[in-house]
C-alpha cells in the first residue's frame, strides 16, 4: 500500500539554492495537491492539479513551481530558497466520482532553509 510517496523526507538548503520535492501516487488519482505547514498552523495550499498537464495556484504559490507531466507524479520546485520557505511540505491526492471526497496525504517533507 504505497499511496502517496514524498521524497526527500528531510532536507537542509542554503539560501538561494534550488531543489525539487518529489511526489508520486499509485492510486490513479486525477487530483493532486501541495500544501505547506508552518509551526503552529494548519496546512495551506501551494499548488494543485486536476490532471496531467493542468496545474493551478493555491493560496501561497509565490516562490514555487509545479509540473504534472503524468498522472502519477507532481513535483514541487523551489527555485531560490528563502528562510520563509522553512516548513513541512505535504503532497496529497484525491480521486474522482464516488470516492472523490477524501484527500490522501503523504508523510511530509521537512525543509529547512539556512
Amino acid at each position: 500500500n504505497a499511496g502517496v510517496t514524498q521524497t526527500p523526507k528531510f532536507r537542509i538548503l542554503k539560501i538561494g539554492q534550488s531543489m525539487t520535492l518529489q511526489c508520486t501516487q499509485d492510486m490513479n488519482h486525477n487530483y493532486m495537491y501541495w500544501y505547506r505547514q508552518d509551526p503552529g498552523m494548519g496546512l495551506k495550499l501551494i499548488y494543485y492539479s486536476v490532471g496531467a498537464g493542468i496545474t493551478d495556484k493555491g493560496e501561497v504559490p509565490n516562490g514555487y513551481n509545479v509540473s504534472r507531466s503524468t498522472t502519477e507524479d507532481f513535483p514541487l520546485r523551489l527555485e531560490l530558497a528563502a528562510p520563509s520557505q522553512t516548513s513541512v511540505y505535504f503532497c496529497a491526492s484525491k480521486g474522482s466520482g464516488g470516492s472523490g471526497n477524501t484527500i490522501y496525504f503523504g508523510e511530509g517533507s521537512w525543509l529547512t532553509v539556512v
Binding site: Y35, G42, L43, Y48, V88, G100, N101, I103, G108
Partner: protein
C-alpha cells in the same frame, strides 16, 4: 472564500474520559464536506472522520463522533474513552463539492487543537 476556526489551541483530558473539540466555519455554499484530521508528532495527516453537509445524520467512527450543526456552521468532534494514542494535533477542514465548483482546490484548514491525554 471559506474560513475554518478552531478556538481551542489546546485541550487536556484524563484517559478514559470524553472530550469535545470545537470547529466553526464560514461559507455561502449549501453543500460541502467537513473533515477532522489527526496529526501525531510524526506529522502524518490521518483522516479521523468526514461529514457530507447534505446528510443530517452525524458521522461516527468507533470512539469518534461529530456534532454537525449546519445552521450554526458548527462541526465539533467528540472523542469517547480517550486513549493515550489519541494525543495529537487535530485539524478541522472544509472542502467544497465538485458541483459547487470547488472540488479541485483542496481543503481549507483550521489552525488546529493540541489534544493532551493525561494518564
Amino acid at each position: 472564500a471559506q474560513t475554518v476556526t478552531q478556538s481551542q489551541p489546546e485541550m487536556s483530558v484524563q484517559e478514559a474520559e470524553t472530550v469535545t473539540l470545537s470547529c466553526t466555519y464560514d461559507t455561502s455554499e449549501s453543500d460541502y464536506y467537513l473533515f477532522w484530521y489527526k496529526q501525531p508528532p510524526s506529522r502524518q495527516m490521518i483522516l479521523v472522520i468526514r461529514q457530507e453537509a447534505y446528510k443530517q445524520q452525524n458521522a461516527t467512527e468507533n470512539r469518534f463522533s461529530v456534532n454537525f450543526q449546519k445552521a450554526a456552521k458548527s462541526f465539533s468532534l467528540k472523542i469517547s474513552d480517550s486513549q493515550l494514542g489519541d494525543a495529537a494535533m487535530y485539524f478541522c477542514a472544509y472542502r467544497s463539492t465538485p458541483e459547487s465548483g470547488g472540488g479541485a482546490d483542496g481543503l481549507t484548514f483550521g489552525k488546529g487543537t493540541h489534544l493532551i491525554i493525561q494518564p
